[in-house]
């Protein structure tokens, strides 16, 4: 091939590239594409249990809220437990099933990003800061089925990068399965700059369920119902409005005041998060610790808990003297936007190496 022809081929290759940023979350998976499409999907996948349900549902696989709605007729997967692919159960069938569900979920979210049939898809996927190597490998494996080139990066780093906050920032990315804490100091964060904990959305749900169960033993509810209540009313403020919800008792909807329980459950994540922040601050250059305290960036779905930023500030004041927390404007798309920005900023020759 002549140099000219080669150059021509290179230009042509670059013509049809769709860049994508994906935030693969336990609860929601979001995508932001370079064609302007942004969408989000709850991270659930279901396959009809039998021929009857297949005929009834009319499809081989259901995603998101639709899968959730029909979960009783489906072999149902929430493939991303604690922010990584579920592999801890030793049943080979579960591992394979979760891997397939994750691959299908990625395929679906990429389809929703609307790539043209004739263009390449290059994706950056945000993963928990301290995801184990085998989890990363599993995600890459799952993504390779629908992407021409894929890169993984730390979720909290993607959030900070997307906002151009590369220096003296502490990112708190509260997801459903995990909360990632990341210290940004102008270079790529290393393992010692990142902490992943499970004090996240699912933890709040469990805590709330426990509290409600203790206070109202007769009330009947599922984790899903508790999660919906939390998503609708979560608030940590002392002046928050009363939260009265209808829960069944022996089949009859009965009103319960869960204001205090909801507040306590939502607040319960603030101390452990500040504990993690303290670790990252205490191990930083003492001369610059105050800068970190002044720029704590709250991101992820969990940051939508009203007043959580102020609760974290209070806790920081108590433990660290002072603290200032900024909430990201778009909690659902913060990670995906950042991942897309990384995809854009990645030189084309770097992408070529991963094809």
């Amino acid at each position: 091939m002549s140099p000219d022809a080669k150059s021509e081929t290179n230009i042509k290759k670059d013509q049809g590239v769709l860049y994508m940023g994906i935030d693969l979350g336990t609860s929601r998976t979001s995508v932001a594409s370079s064609n302007g499409v942004r969408t989000t999907l709850s991270s659930h996948v279901g396959y009809p249990k039998d021929v009857v349900s297949r005929k009834l549902l009319g499809r081989d696989v259901l995603y998101g809220d639709e899968a959730l709605e029909h979960r009783l007729s489906l072999k149902f997967f929430r493939p991303l437990a604690a922010g990584v692919l579920k592999q801890s159960q030793h049943k080979a069938e579960d591992v394979a099933g979760n891997l397939k569900a994750a691959a299908d979920l990625l395929t679906e979210i990429i389809r929703l990003g609307k790539p043209r049939a004739d263009e390449l898809v290059y994706a950056v996927i945000g993963v928990p800061a301290q995801a184990a190597i085998h989890h990363k490998e599993a995600i890459v494996k799952a993504a390779r089925e629908s992407c021409d080139a894929v890169m993984l990066c730390s979720e909290p780093f993607a959030v900070a990068y997307g906002l151009d906050m590369l220096e003296d920032v502490l990112v708190v990315d509260i997801g459903a399965g995990t909360t990632d804490l990341c210290r940004m100091h102008g270079t790529m964060p290393e393992d010692s700059d990142q902490i992943t904990t499970t004090y996240a959305g699912d933890y709040v749900d469990e805590k709330l369920a426990d509290l409600v169960r203790k206070r109202y033993p007769k009330a009947q509810f599922t984790t899903r119902m508790i999660k919906e209540i939390k998503e609708r009313h979560a608030n940590v403020s002392d002046t928050s409005p009363a939260v009265v919800v209808d829960l069944p008792v022996d089949g009859k909807p009965t009103p319960f005041d869960i204001t205090e329980d909801l507040r306590a459950a939502c607040r319960s994540i603030a101390p452990p998060l500040v504990e993690g922040l303290s670790q990252l601050i205490a191990t930083f250059d003492p001369e610059f610790q105050h800068r970190l305290k002044n720029r704590v960036l709250l991101a992820g779905g969990g940051s939508q808990i009203k007043g959580l930023d102020l609760a974290i500030e209070d806790e920081m004041r108590r433990r660290l003297g002072h603290g200032r927390v900024l909430r990201i404007e778009e909690p659902v798309y913060g990670g995906a936007n950042g991942a897309l920005k990384i995809a854009h900023d990645m030189p084309p020759e770097y992408w070529e190496k991963l094809k």
Binding site: E137, D309, L310, E329, H344
Partner: protein, 367 residues
């Protein structure tokens, strides 16, 4: 130069300043700030969850809270600062000769002050917090008073949606100014006269309780006379009402009217009202996002035109976006970001190599 006085809510009831007066003063001050190029700040303040407190504890509690907030604000104002109450119980403040930085400090002081307020109701101690939206005239480009109020309102919405107890400046000046101009142009095109801006300040004071030593209703008083005639026409003995406080009568009528409206909203269309509010929040969020994206889109389109002119080729839309929004050599953080990209690449290459090795020898496991 005219001397502006502080407009106090209680004064407005005594006829010193009407709602129109308050608003005219604010607009005049804004114009003067533009002419003499001094900084001016607009602040819109709302008590968090005031509606719910009113539902739980009644109109009197709401009034008491509003009065306390207004008193607190008064204590923080200078004589040249202006204050008015809007129809939806928000407080609009205009601070001439005030920089955005000072406004931030003032807002923090107000937030701290409001947290210290306590109200006793039904054996419970109520605490309140504020949401504050801020705007200022230290922006490039054309600005109008309506735009400043709209930006402050936007900030207030964001502050409230985030749980309250905070102040926000959204900086969407050009978005609202553009909207205002587009509306004006549309009216001009349609041959309509320029729109008279909707009143911003209502200047309705919190309802005062009946005053023991206040004026009394008498047949000599025009209101008293009208009321007595009305009662007589309905077959009541009007004389029994002589001596009651006319302000209390006015309060009762106003409260009844508002109660009626509130009941209509609550009983006839509760779901729709809630839905509308939710939709409005979504619209606000989307508008903010649109404003940010518009700037990027402008750059993108400019680049598209330039490329099309220079090369006469179609690079494909997604790739063009990369060329506009991607990393450029002249960016201040270029070196640092490139190094970060390299680190990400190296980590991913290592991952790829591991996977390839596993694919070649699937029996081996890595610990």
């Amino acid at each position: 130069m005219p001397q502006f006085q502080t407009v106090r809510l209680s004064e407005s009831t005594q006829g010193l300043f009407s709602a129109g007066d308050v608003e005219r003063l604010m607009r005049a001050e804004f114009d003067r700030a533009g002419r003499h190029k001094f900084p001016l700040v607009v602040m819109l303040v709302a008590v968090d969850r005031l509606g719910q407190l009113q539902d739980l504890y009644g109109w009197e509690s709401k009034d008491e809270i509003l009065r306390a907030i207004v008193s607190m604000l008064r204590a923080s104002l200078r004589d040249s600062d202006l204050l008015g109450l809007t129809q939806d119980d928000r407080i609009l403040l205009v601070f001439p000769h005030t920089t955005p930085e000072s406004a931030g400090l003032l807002a923090r002081r107000l937030l701290t002050g409001s947290r210290k307020l306590r109200f006793d109701r039904d054996g419970r101690t109520l605490r309140i917090s504020l949401s504050i939206g801020i705007s200022h005239n230290r922006q490039t480009g054309d600005l109008s008073f309506e735009t400043l109020v709209a930006v402050a309102e936007d900030g207030l919405t964001v502050a409230d949606a985030a749980g309250g107890d905070r102040f926000v400046e959204t900086e969407l000046y050009q978005l609202y100014e553009k909207k205002r101009k587009a509306k004006a142009r549309a009216r001009e095109t349609a041959g309509l006269s320029p729109e008279v801006p909707a009143p911003i300040v209502a200047s309705v004071p919190p309802i005062e309780p009946a005053r023991p030593d206040g004026p009394r209703l008498t047949p000599d008083d025009p209101i008293g006379q009208a009321l007595l005639e009305l009662l007589a026409s309905q077959g009541f003995d009007g004389q029994k009402f002589v001596g009651i406080d006319p302000e209390a009568v006015a309060n009762a009528i106003r409260r009844a009217q508002l109660d009626k409206v509130a009941k209509q909203i609550d009983t006839t269309r509760p779901a729709t009202a809630e839905e509308l509010l939710e939709k409005q929040e979504q619209i606000d969020t989307l508008e903010r996002r649109i404003a940010k994206l518009t700037q990027i889109l402008g750059l993108t389109e400019e680049e598209l035109r330039r490329v099309a002119l220079l090369k006469g080729v179609d690079f494909g839309l997604p790739s063009i976006y990369k060329s506009v929004q991607g990393l450029k050599g002249d960016e201040s953080e270029f070196g640092r970001k490139k190094a970060m990209m390299l680190t990400i690449l190296e980590a991913n290459l290592a991952l790829k190599r591991d996977l390839e090795a596993k694919d070649e020898s699937p029996g081996e496991t890595r610990t």
